[in-house]
């Protein structure tokens, strides 16, 4: 049986690992390489690393850092942040990264998705959609540049366009729920699940393994990504890298898919 993937999502800023709340107030939580080594030991399903400076500052991807990450990382790695060109994506894949995540650049210029897919294969092209629920309504719109710019585009339309252009995976990230640790936005997750037949990964809001179970119950075999959940422990948000063991993970998935 194909299992839902449980994926730590690590945010990098100024070379350090941070965690945000609603994309603001980045709190330093440690060293990225150290975190990767711990997730290796815990046999993590997959890892997502997003450089949150690069696009906002118009910088190139930090290839030296990516190479270091790729060498250390023993699980499938998805890297994002600052990728605007086909050559950058090719170079990152060449460093030993399984998937590249594109967001702002793909939303501004959707053709970039097909251009990158032609070079590295659809299976390695991940489109990340940062989404905010519009006030006074139920519409979800895609934002870019660390949630500072509203594209005004509905998430369903952007997800479908990405699929038709050759994306291999959609990551939908709830800006509202980011760092809140109160659970995923399940309505958003269901909306995107119904809109696309690509593998879907949902990010934003998980505060417990039960939240991951609820997402799997709502959407079936999906990627359940989380930041805070895997870097904080307890109500005071003490930094402690953690990840469920195999038996715990298997039990969680079995129960969620059965109900």
């Amino acid at each position: 049986m194909l299992r839902p993937r449980i994926i730590p999502c690590l945010l990098v800023k100024n070379g350090g690992l941070v965690k945000t709340v609603q994309f603001r107030d980045p709190k330093y939580v440690g060293d990225p390489i150290n975190a990767v080594k711990i997730f290796n030991e815990k046999e993590t399903d997959e890892l997502m690393v997003l450089d949150i400076d690069a696009t906002a500052e118009g910088a190139e991807p930090n290839f030296k850092r990516i190479a270091h990450l790729a060498v250390e990382c023993r699980m499938p790695l998805c890297y994002g942040g600052g990728i605007k060109k086909v050559d950058q994506a090719k170079q990152i894949i060449g460093l030993g990264v399984e998937k590249v995540a594109i967001s702002s650049a793909a939303i501004e210029n959707p053709r970039l998705i097909s251009m990158i897919a032609r070079e590295i294969g659809s299976q390695s092209v991940v489109v990340v959609l940062d989404v905010r629920r519009q006030p006074m309504g139920t519409a979800y719109e895609v934002w870019t540049h660390n949630a500072s710019r509203n594209t005004g585009k509905p998430v369903v339309a952007v997800a479908r366009e990405a699929e038709s252009l050759g994306a291999g995976e959609i990551v939908v990230n709830s800006i509202d729920n980011d760092g809140q640790m109160q659970g995923y936005d399940l309505a958003l997750a269901r909306t995107v699940r119904e809109a696309t037949s690509l593998p879907l990964t949902v990010l934003g809001g998980a505060g417990s393994l039960a939240d991951i179970g609820a997402l799997i119950r709502a959407c079936g075999v999906v990627g359940a990504a989380a930041g805070s959940l895997f870097v904080f422990k307890g109500g005071y948000r003490a930094v402690l890298i953690n990840y469920p063991g195999q038996a715990q993970k298997d039990g969680l998935i079995r129960d969620a898919l059965r109900s």
């Binding site: 049986m1 194909l2 299992r3 839902p4 993937r5 046999e43 399903d45 997959e46 790729a70 060498v71 023993r74 699980m75 499938p76 060449g94 460093l95 030993g96 399984e98 590295i120 294969g121 659809s122 299976q123 390695s124 291999g168 995976e169 037949s197 690509l198 593998p199 879907l200 075999v221 990627g223 298997d250």
Partner: protein, 204 residues
């Protein structure tokens, strides 16, 4: 010594790192001269079938690879698209494959499974050995491996299937004919399960 064919496709570093941790000597070959004399070969691959065949042809290593595998019986392990090109042909492309194992490569999208099958097949899935072979020695019964693909190997002869996985259909996730092996999943990214399989291959 394990020689990893570096024709620009696949996560070469991940194989080198895995063997380094196992204390098994491993190297890469980027030319016919470097490949000649290899005693055990890994053929990685990602992306499209035709692209892989073209890159392999352009690398200049095709003839040496044929010589090693078909005349000198050197063990070879194809991984992901490196496994798919062991077949004669693929529905994904026009170019002929290596044709070392009888079968063709089909797309999951061509299956009529009723429900919607998200593609690519991405993530951790079970791998059930269907024949006894030391490649799967000492692997737990709940061993799982990382997959990332939209096409799968369909063996023409059932005796070439070494393991089966399920995604919309049962498909051959490991194939075998004499000294030739192929796995659809990524052992280089499958934690201790993959490490075990890579060790088993090194010990064949």
């Amino acid at each position: 010594m394990i020689t990893i064919v570096d024709y620009g496709l696949g996560n070469i570093r991940a194989f080198l790192n895995a063997y380094h941790r196992l204390n098994v000597d491993a190297t890469t070959a980027t030319s016919a001269a470097e490949l000649r004399g290899a005693s055990k070969v890994i053929l990685p691959g990602v992306g499209a079938f035709d692209h892989a065949m073209q890159r392999l042809q352009d690398s200049g290593m095709r003839e040496v690879l044929d010589e090693l595998v078909l005349k000198q019986d050197v063990p070879v392990l194809g991984v992901c698209v490196g496994m798919q090109i062991l077949a004669r042909s693929s529905d994904e492309g026009q170019l002929p494959g290596l044709g070392w194992i009888e079968g063709r490569v089909r797309g999951f999208a061509s299956l009529h499974t009723g429900g919607r099958l998200p593609l690519p097949h991405m993530g951790w899935n079970d791998v059930r050995p269907v024949a006894q072979h030391s490649l799967f020695d000492r692997l737990e019964s709940d061993a799982r491996f990382y997959f990332l693909h939209s096409f799968f190997f369909e063996c023409a002869k059932s005796e070439n299937a070494l393991a089966v996985s399920s995604y919309g259909t049962d498909f051959s996730s490991a194939v075998h004919a004499d000294n030739i092996f192929g796995v659809q999943f990524h052992p280089e990214k499958s934690h201790h399960f993959g490490t075990r399989l890579l060790k088993n291959f090194a010990e064949l």
